[in-house]
Structure formats: C-alpha cells, structure tokens
C-alpha cells in the first residue's frame, strides 16, 4: 500500500502496524478516480476486524504471500468473511482483486497457475503478481482495482447514494442548509 501511494517501501517487517488508509488519485479511461485504500491495521491477526471496517467498500483486495502457502489457503475464508461482514447487495458480482505478493522472494510456494485457478472458481477475479519491495506490477494492480470498483458503481447507480447526507465530522463542516445558525 505504501509502495503504491508513496513509492516507498518500508523494509522493516513489522506486519502492517502503523498503516491506516491512504488516498491516491488514478486515471481510469479519462476519469480521475480518488481511491481510499484501507489497511487492516493488524486487526485481522486474531480475527478481530470489526464490522465497521467493512462499511461502504467498493472493492476488496486480497493479498497473499507467494512464498507462504498458508496465506494462500486462508484466501477462501477471508473472501467469505468479507462477504458476510460487508454484506454487499450482490455478493456474486462484488469486485475482488487478488494480489500474489513478494514475487521477488524465493522459494516460491504457490505457482501462478494455482492462483489463477482459484480466481477462475470465484467468478474470474483479476490476478496480479506483485512485489511491493521492487514496485513490480503495483501500479497496474491498483488501476485494475479502481476500474473494478467503478464498474460496480456503473451497475448500481444509486450505490454511492444509498445513504445520502452523511456527515463527516470536521471543524469546518457546515450543513447544506446553513443560515440556521444559533437561535439567539
């Protein structure tokens, strides 16, 4: 995630501590898309991602480590978990993207073919092999993510507007109906 947004890669291997969410603008077919990429902040380690984490997601990126077979094995349960928690309107068509990360490392445990097969059984999820460390394929992968999220919106026009007039708390926020200030 950091490689993608900041073009930096942190060598320290401290799981994902410190990662929160990052914002990035990408060009997809003449459109500028602002992506917010949310990290699990380590809360997934003991299956403790709360339902609040999944709210309003337009795309889900699953990442496994091509040198660690157990990370590949748990993809199914993560996909299921997402669909249960996020409960999207059309679970079958919800956009997922799969990234096989750390392709710069040896020995490789999960072959490209094996990963692609898994993707085929899940309604053809796009698959990318990446190296966050060497910035390999990261840009392409996130473009695909943006495109998929957009297609989801195109299909359900009111997706974005399911809950209009939500308020983000900021110091400067004013209601649309201002003029209604203090009664005195």
């Amino acid at each position: 995630m950091n490689q993608y947004v900041n073009k930096k890669f942190s060598n320290q291997y401290k799981a994902t501590i410190g990662a929160d969410f990052l914002t990035k603008e990408v060009q997809v077919d003449d459109r500028t898309v602002t992506m917010q990429i949310w990290d699990t902040a380590g809360q997934e380690r003991f299956q403790s991602l709360g339902v609040a984490f999944y709210r309003g997601a337009d795309c889900c990126v699953l990442v496994f480590d091509v040198t660690a077979p157990n990370t590949f094995k748990s993809l199914d349960s993560w996909r299921d978990e997402f669909l249960i928690q996020a409960s999207p309107r059309e679970p079958e068509n919800f956009p997922f993207v799969l990234l096989g990360n750390k392709v710069d490392l040896e020995p490789r445990a999960i072959s490209t073919k094996k990963a692609q097969q898994w993707c085929q059984t899940k309604n053809n999820i796009p698959y990318f092999e990446t190296s966050a460390k060497e910035a390999l394929n990261v840009e392409q992968a996130f473009k695909s993510i943006a495109r998929n999220a957009l297609s989801q919106q195109a299909q359900a026009v009111d997706l974005y507007n399911e809950f209009p007039d939500q308020i983000k708390l900021t110091n400067t926020a004013k209601s649309n109906n201002s003029g209604d200030s203090c009664a005195c």
Partner: protein
Amino acid sequence: MDYELPTEFDIIIVGTGIVESIVSAAASRIGKTVLHIDSQDYYGGFWASFNLEQIDKLCERNQNANVDISADVQLNEGERLIQIGNNNFDLKNTSQKWSIPEKLELKDVSENVEGDNCDVTETEADNGTGTEEVWTQEKLMRESRKFNIDIAPKIQFARGDFVELLISSNIARYSEYRSVSRVLTWLNGELEVVPCSRSDVFSNPKVSVIEKRMLMKLLGACMDSEENEFKDYKIKTFHTYLNDKRLTDNVIHYVLYAIAMSTVDTPCSEGVENIKRFLNSLGRFGKTPFLYSMYGSGELSQAFCRLSAVFGGVYALNQNLGGFVFDAENKFKGLVCGKQQVIKASHLVMGIEKSPEEFVKSVEVSYISRGIFITNGSVKGSEKEHLTLLFYPLKGGRELCNVIELGTLTGTCPKGIYIVHMFTKQINTPKEDLEECVSKLFQSEKEDSDVKDARPQVLWSFYYSAPDTNTANLRKDVPENAFLCPGPDCDLDIDYSIKKAKEIFNSMYPDVEFLPRAPDPEEIIIGDGSDEQIPKK
C-alpha cells in the same frame, strides 16, 4: 495467521465497550503497548449493535462467554488466580415479542400471482402505492443483516465533548454520522415539531408572532445568563422561572420539555445549562443540535479501537480467558489466555461486567427501562424520511422518556421499516414504565376495525432493564493497578463516559496528553528501517 499473542504488555484491556476502547486508543496513541481482548466475538459489549438474528439470541447471551476457569498455570508464591466476569450487570426482565405472523397464510397466496409466499408480498409492495406492505417474521429475518439494533442507543450533541474529541484526536475519519432531522414533543395530545433554530421558530405556523418574540427573548436571556435574571431562582425550579415569565403554555412546553430536556422538577440552573448546551450545538451539522452514528451506536467503540490498532494496539476477540493473576499484595500481574498462556502487564483495565465478583460486590446498580420497537412507519409520517428525537414527558413527575426513531437512511434497518428506541430511568418494569409512551405513539394491539388508525404498527418489540453504574464508586475494592469501566448510562450522549475514560487514563499516565491529534496518513513518512512514524508539523 499463525500468530501468537506476545507475553508482555504495558496494559491489558478486557472488554470492548466505549470506555475501554477510549482508554485503549489513548494508551496506544502515546506509545504504550496495549493488548485489547474480549471473550465475545464482537465489539462493544453492552454498547454493541446487533442484527435481528443476533438479538434473537441476546436473551441467552452471557457477556462472559468464553471465560474458561479450568486454567492450568504455574503461579509464584503468594499469587492467586481470580475468575474473570460476574453476573451483577446482566440485562434483566428481557421480553421479546413478534406481533406479526411467521409466514403469510395460504389464503393470501391463492389470491395472488404464483410463487412462494415471499415473492407475493414483494410484488404487492412494488406495484402498490396505496397498499401497505405486508411484513412477516420470515421476511424480516431474511433482511436480518440490514438491521443494526443498538442495545444502548446514543445521540451526540454537535458541540458536545464526544464530537470535539473525535475531531481533535482525528478519530472522526473512522466513522460517519447523520443529523437528527427533527425534534418532536408531545403537546395537547399530538406530536408537534419543536422549533429549534431561529428560522424554525419564525416559520412555525403553530407559534404566534407574540410567542415567537417571547421565545427568542427567553432563549437569549438563558444564553446570556445574567446574574440578575436568575438570582431569585437559585433554589427554585426552571418551571417556576418559566411560569414567572408569563409565557404562554405552548412556549413553556417547548422550552421545558424539549429545548431544556427538563421536567417540572428540574432546578432552574440545570434547565438554563441544558438550554445553553442545546443552543450551542445548533447550526454546526444540520438542523438540530443532534447527531447519530451511521450503522448504529455500536460503531462508536470500533472507531476508537481502529485508532488503537493503527498505533500498535493488539486486538484479539473471541478469546478463551482463564483468569486474572494477582500477587500477594493484591497487585495485578497478568491475564491467563487459553489454558496456559500468562500475559503480563503493569495495568489492567476492564469493563465492569468482566470484573471479578470481589471487585464489584458493593457497586450499586440502578436500572434503565429500555424498549426497542420495529415498526412499519414513522410516528409522524412525512414526505421525506426523518431521523427523529422525542422527549416524552411521562405523567407523575417522572423523568422524560427519550425516544429515538431511526429509518433506513441511518443504515440500521431495511427500507420501509423504522426502529424506535425508548428509554427512561426504571421505576417499575420496562413494560410498565414505557407503556404510556407506547400507547400514544403506536397502534394499539387490540384491533378496532371501525376506526382506521394512522399510527405505525409495532411488528416486533423487545423490552429489558439495563444496568446503570454512573453514580457508583468504581475504585472501592479494586486493586491499585486495576480499573473498572462503567457501562452505558441513561444519558442521551456519551460525554460522561469520555470523562470516565479520561480519568482512568490520567490515573495510569498522569501529565500525558489525552488523545492528541493523530497524524493524517499523508503526514507519515515511512523511512528505511526506521521504526518511528514522524508526523510533519
């Protein structure tokens, strides 16, 4: 996912209620290592929101599920193992009731198009603009996941401590809110909209020109609170003050029961303070001073937990907890997780329901009468969907009954459905305490075919008594390095809970800033091999 919990932390927090979660965020934020753990598999404890299936099981639910007392650990001399959890703060008098059939009866199907029962009702709903949607238990259960039903519903003041804390700490980015769109009151046997803002007052057809002037002048006097204005009312009630002002009954009603959220017994100074709080929160986010968190009040604790996790807090729900280890001087040493692992920490913070019995044996509990209703329409129908707050003055000198009505736009229920929360200080049973309000707002259950009742029908109801430990002393009987967090109180907002969390934090870490602003992600520079996150100023 083959992770193992580390064996030592600065602080272990058991339970994921609001107070615990705020302490967790504050401690992680200043670099303390935090283990935040819960025996339940969901966040929030008594502050959680549940879907319809989960709430169905709530009555059987034990807040201390997954507490395993058969731990097998080696203790040092003088150390003892104490069981986690107690039953002193369980929900009581729970009663759940469906008022609609489980499925549609067969005769209804034959009159309609082919298909199973459920399709029939949906077809009707789509075509019929005039016909009412027919709800069955089966149909609602199928939409179970669209429900987020608060066990402790909360409304925030737009300029209250909660909102200010969320903004100043930068935790606001983890949650979203909706403005309460109208405040109602029960006046002369009807629901009336309370004029909140200046423009509301002037556009309200039910308030005469003279009353408008009276109201504005009175609110102005309360905001300025000049000493002379209230000097004769130090020991008098706010109601007496209003009466002496020679206002009309309507104006007194709006001010006393709605804007001041008071009763005839409220002292004058308190009434004035309440008015100030109300008016101060106006005009910030939306038309009323109030906010509700999208997807339910259960999201609140998760926002704080997220910040804690981002700053390194370790999260583990659904854990088997074997007990607390205390030493000979009654000092907390560690938590037994599973049967054998002892995790050490210098401080223990726990939700009151997770406390060993011996620390809470003298804690006094009062109760809140709560009712939750799923209905098929708003208590006061209108063209657009409203998020409604109503303070209902109960007869007999009782406290107000708080009523919150949530529609589908809050992300807490499916389309066509409303959730109504009612709560007040408990006097009798929840059902008896809320009966007056229920009978005024909803259709009576005894059908009267002659008169068409325009009020919403209750499809499902759930009554319970919830413990309130707001006034209890939570330091007595508790070891020095252990702290108890109170559960939800009867207040509308959670400002008191924030105060409690801050107290606990300051007891552990005096003179350290409580939840300073967290950097935005783009302010964090990730260096090569460097451990620190350096916020750019």
